[in-house]
Symmetry: C2
């Protein structure tokens, strides 16, 4: 990302991470309350995006609802489901050039059969390149 | 959250979750590359915020950098560190009235000795209350 400045120089911005926040509405409620299926969907989505899975943790709540995280070598994917409202909150945080969070976004939305969705991408760790120096 | 409409009625909005995205700069680099200390800080921050810890996963990358997630009964806390840049990306996602992500925010920023920080809160699962009906 380059931005021309008034003095004729430029700021070259680099983001360490890309974070897609995904709101899924009117999903399949039976899927939303199935922790095994949700974990499978999240792992498949991570692999489709080109990520390397490190570890995953999924938990089913009483009476229903699933929380889970797939830690990937390139950050993490997280999901929280509210089957009673047909809703899931999904976070797709990736770093590096080889993983595309928007591929995971498509997979998760499709597999949960979401009829409505909204999403936005946040840049995480945005640095002006001349300032980005190794300190270690 | 109430908003008066032109017809005299009102929309009553309810968010299922609160998600604080925290950017920490100029942190203590030695802490950022210590997976044991990072896990301890994230768990202590979860407890300070009033959360119930379900499980945690932390991973150290080569040559340095830590990724970790604390799954809580009220959603999750996540961190990714770049010690080489003195930077950490932190996510504090909570639901319910009894957990305050901003308390966790203060703890994490203090313990990582961040000299600069930016943060914002996103509402997740924002519903108009009359539409919010149990489907299960």
């Amino acid at each position: 990302m380059k931005k021309k400045q008034w003095w004729g120089g430029e700021i070259r911005l680099k983001a360490l991470g890309r974070h897609v926040l995904l709101e899924l509405h009117e999903c399949d409620c039976d899927i939303l309350r199935d922790p095994v299926r949700i974990e499978q969907i999240m792992k498949e989505s991570a692999e489709a995006a080109g990520a390397t899975i490190v570890q995953s943790v999924f938990h089913q709540f009483s009476p229903f609802g699933v929380s889970g995280v797939v830690v990937i070598a390139e950050s993490h994917l997280a999901i929280h489901t509210w089957p009673e409202y047909g809703y899931a909150a999904v976070d797709l945080f990736t770093c590096g050039e080889d993983v595309d969070p928007w591929v995971a976004h498509q997979c998760v939305a499709k597999e949960l059969k979401a009829r409505k969705k909204t999403s936005l991408e946040m840049k995480r760790g945005l640095f002006d390149l001349p300032v980005l120096k190794h300190k270690v």
